[in-house]
């Protein structure tokens, strides 16, 4: 009886020795991975690239910690779990930052669209006042074409914005604003020149 007990204890000891003490935190890994994918889908890699990169690096580091734990006789995933919790929180923060940046970019682009539209209208009004003679209409065609390019760009920007291309639309509207402002200066100079005569 005594010997059977000893055998049982030894067998249990061996079983315990060769079996893992803790399980891989798969739920936490899956949750963090899904959170990162969600952040990417929200465009964080475009709108807040540094924060997104930090998040990805942090996830990689967490994966490494999981493997470090798995490599041990008695795996302990506490550090990996802590890191995964940090990753999940970072994902939430990064998504929020991305959303905020998108709102900011959209508002900036929309404000610039209004500005450029106003500048285009001002320019059209200035063209009407610009020095013209018998054939002034034809002579101002070049400036009109310039204004038309700015106007077309605004339409393109609106389409880009509607398609969710916030960065492309922002860059394009900045160029259009620059153009419309330059045309306005050119027209004002011509009108001022005319006024001096």
């Amino acid at each position: 009886m005594k010997s059977k007990l000893i055998i049982a204890i030894a067998a249990m000891g061996i079983a315990v020795l060769f079996s893992s003490c803790a399980k891989v935190p798969q739920t936490e890994i899956d949750a963090a991975t899904a959170a990162i994918q969600e952040v990417k889908d929200a465009g964080a890699d475009l709108y807040v690239p540094e924060a997104y990169q930090a998040l990805v690096d942090s996830m990689k580091s967490a994966n490494e910690k999981v493997e470090v734990a798995k490599a041990k006789w008695f795996p302990n995933y506490t550090k990996a779990k802590e890191q995964l919790a940090v990753v999940s929180q970072m994902a939430v923060d990064t998504k929020a930052k991305s959303e905020a940046r998108k709102v900011e970019l959209k508002a900036e682009t929309e404000a610039m669209i209004v500005e450029v539209k106003a500048l285009v209208e001002e320019n059209k009004a200035l063209i009407a006042k610009a020095p013209r003679g018998k054939e002034g209409k034809e002579a101002l065609e070049a400036i009109k074409s310039d204004v038309a390019v700015a106007e077309t760009t605004v339409t393109e920007v609106e389409a880009l914005l509607a398609n969710g291309d916030l960065i492309g639309s922002n860059d394009k509207i900045k160029a259009a604003k620059e153009k419309a402002t330059a045309i306005k200066a050119e027209l004002e100079e011509a009108i001022a020149k005319k006024g001096k005569k």
Partner: protein
Amino acid sequence: MGLGKKRIKWLIIVLLSIVFIAITVCVIIVSQRVLPTDDLRLAREAVSEAKDAEANVYATKIYNESVQMYDSAMVNWSKENSRFIVFRDYSRVISFAKRSKKKAEEAEEESIKQSDSLSKNVEAAFVSLAKKIDLYNKLFKNLPLPKSVFDAHNKSRMFLSESKIAHEKGKLKEAEILFKKADIYINHANSAAGKMLRDYFNDFAKWKNLANDAISASRDGNKVILVDKVAHILYVYQSGKAIRSFDAEFGPNWMAHKERNGDRATPEGTYHVASEKTHGRTIYHKALLLDYPNAEDRRMFALKKKNGSLSRSAGIGNLIEIHGNGGKGFDWTIGCIGLQDRDIDDLCRLVGPGTRVTIVGSIEPLSVITNGVDF
């Protein structure tokens, strides 16, 4: 039975000893094994630094290789970890991690090199494009160009602005794409405008003769008016020398010889002041009416009508004047020569009816006009 118990006891002792020895051996083996932790960390950091240096954009192939190797290292590490602890072998993991780090470093270096080179190229391209735009502004801006040409020029400027914004943001590839678009448009505009200018200068030899004749005619002390359409200058010559010059404006279609009524072109050839219109007799402050059309104009007009290049209903036009109300900064007349009011006042004091007026496209050859710039 007693022997059996003893045997079992010994058997257990032997078994436990074997297990103990096995465990000891395993512990020794495992403790001696180098884990790939540091190599993976270094590889990850190197990949991250390469990404910071935008190696994914400028050294894509090498960067992707480094990422793949890091991923392979992780996959292999996980695979090894799923094996029994004693039989795990991390050498492949370490090898992948080390190669990943090396590739990432190469990618970073290549990316810095490529982006520096691209940045320089884009900056050089901006300079080149600015020169082309400048060339357009200097040579072609005031030419009566078709709408498609100045549209192309304007689009080019817009793409250049977008390209500069992308460049400022460090998006060099995007800047390069936008710059190339700008370059295509400006090349189209400059090439079309350049062809127009070259074609116009086909008559240069004729203009040169006309101008030389006019200057010669002034050598006996007579005042002669010589108008250079490209330069937009009206000269008054006396004794072979330009004694005055005035800025002049023409019709929007000035880069052509007047052929018919309403073509808004300024005629080219030799004319004379037919009469002077003083203030009150013209809506353009003061005017010198020219004797357009001259005999040559009439001959050419009749010929063109005959060969069908002018419609049968076309009129030759008249009332070409040198008049005031100018100084508008663009070509606005219906074919006349517009001067500022104070300039027409001065001109009327210098010349009068009978004064010879020679109008030419240019008194300088195209190479001088373009200052040797190839276009």
